[in-house]
Symmetry: D2
Subunit: 163 residues, 4 copies
């Protein structure tokens, strides 16, 4: 497998423009983020998420890279959704008692402006904490302060399975 991976990288390098090489760097260092434990999942690593969490809010910052582009050259709405869902889900889980987990049951996103610039900043806060559902809302802002998305999500509270 090791040989195969090295060869795959060579192929990618040979096909790459200068900018593509930078994206390759973003991707591989993103994988490394997960493997070193800096991030807990591959998607968090690939997006180079920087996260702050307390009982009131969850904030996530990510750099905007070419990896995030949709066909129009702006951040793909799916990545914006990923950052929103991660921030809201992390916060929903944070406020639950031991032994319970929150899973997304409904996600609503208003896309307001194109995702461009250097970085995105997401902040999630609690709307409602019920026995069986938690409702959270979150905004995503660009470096210039412009809001690019507003979202609300409903999370279902489930008992964690014993392993």
């Amino acid at each position: 497998m090791e040989k195969e991976l090295q060869q795959l990288l060579e192929e990618c390098i040979s096909l790459s423009s200068e900018q593509d090489l930078e994206t390759l760097q973003v991707v591989l260092s993103g994988v490394k983020n997960k493997l070193t434990g800096k991030n807990s999942t591959f998607i968090d690593g690939l997006l180079h998420m920087d996260r702050r969490l307390d009982n009131e809010s969850c904030e996530i910052d990510i750099p905007i890279t070419k990896m995030l582009d949709n066909t129009l050259g702006i951040v793909h709405g799916g990545f914006t959704a990923t950052v929103l869902d991660t921030a809201m889900g992390t916060l929903a889980n944070k406020i639950l008692p031991e032994g319970y987990a929150a899973v997304t049951s409904q996600l609503n996103i208003h896309y307001l402006s194109p995702g461009i610039g250097k970085r995105l900043h997401c902040k999630a806060t609690i709307v409602h904490k019920g026995r069986s559902t938690v409702v959270v809302e979150a905004d995503v802002l660009r470096s210039d302060g412009k809001k690019i998305a507003h979202s609300s999500g409903s999370f279902f509270v489930v008992e964690k399975q014993h392993k």
Copy 2:
């Protein structure tokens, strides 16, 4: 840069379990998908999207890999959102006249069941085609036929900028 990339890969390999090596393979061949032009964006490539499109529907298939995992070990809702937004957006753009593009203005997703198994299949169809907005809906199904998400999205019709 080339040297740096090779070294980064070595670091990743040395940190990897057997399963992580497979994920590295998924990631690098995903980047290659974009660089060879098989997919039009890095995210489409990384997700190894297989797409069929006509005037009535857009269908996308992706393999489920460890790269897609959230912290609970099931497909991250952000990836499900990415596949949905891509299928719906591709279809919305398909039905517009020359010179116009559709950008997501609102996305609503009901998450129904955990994303597990071998593959995900997404199918988007048109709900409404207006002058200034297109509304699309889409489902995501697992290999066992179970529906894991139902979504609707509103797309804003904009004139394409001349370059």
Copy 3:
């Protein structure tokens, strides 16, 4: 109270245009619909709902009257929401076993065209039936066949309280 009601009606009549008198007729016969048991709630009665229900779908027809107008002279989006929620909720409850009820937890509505013409027709169908949630979708159409709204809703399954 009886005297007071008669006087209130006289005041309304004296303030009414020809068209307002018709609206008064719609309102009072709507109240009567509830009192005679033809409809089960005042809102169903006031909207003169005509309902068909089986295990696959719930359909509701209502006449468009001046009572439904918003400030622009078209059907108020709140009434469209009421018909949608009623049709979806009725269907969600229909498919549950004895002793359980479905309560709306999330409602998403895309408004597509102005509500004008003679009548509105709403049809709701099941998207997903889970243990704890039911997801339903519904459309509202005008007499001329144009779709004016597309909606999906998530219903939470609760045990009915014994009285």
Copy 4:
């Protein structure tokens, strides 16, 4: 017509319990609210809406009456939606320049707790003001301070038709 209306009222009175007579009073005085110009539409009148509006927010209070009941004896989600849509739409229209109107294009509502008690209070605030869309959010609270609904809506900006 006048005779017919009086007879209709007599029928309603004869079918009514003490509580139903109160609902009749709510309904007729609601119609009067519209006819005297106290409210601008029949639905605003029927719901006995009390409204405060400035450039930052729109607040609406309504009394909870039997007229609002769904089949479970709590406020019908359609009425909650009506109050939300009215508050958000009023605010969206308020901030537009002369000659423009805002029409609801998408409405998302999270229902959080049952609508019970004496009154409902709704407050809408602006999330985003763009050239072609305005996004607004709103909460509905009960007299005891409990939040019963959280909502966001997208409004499409249209040029008013000259008459």
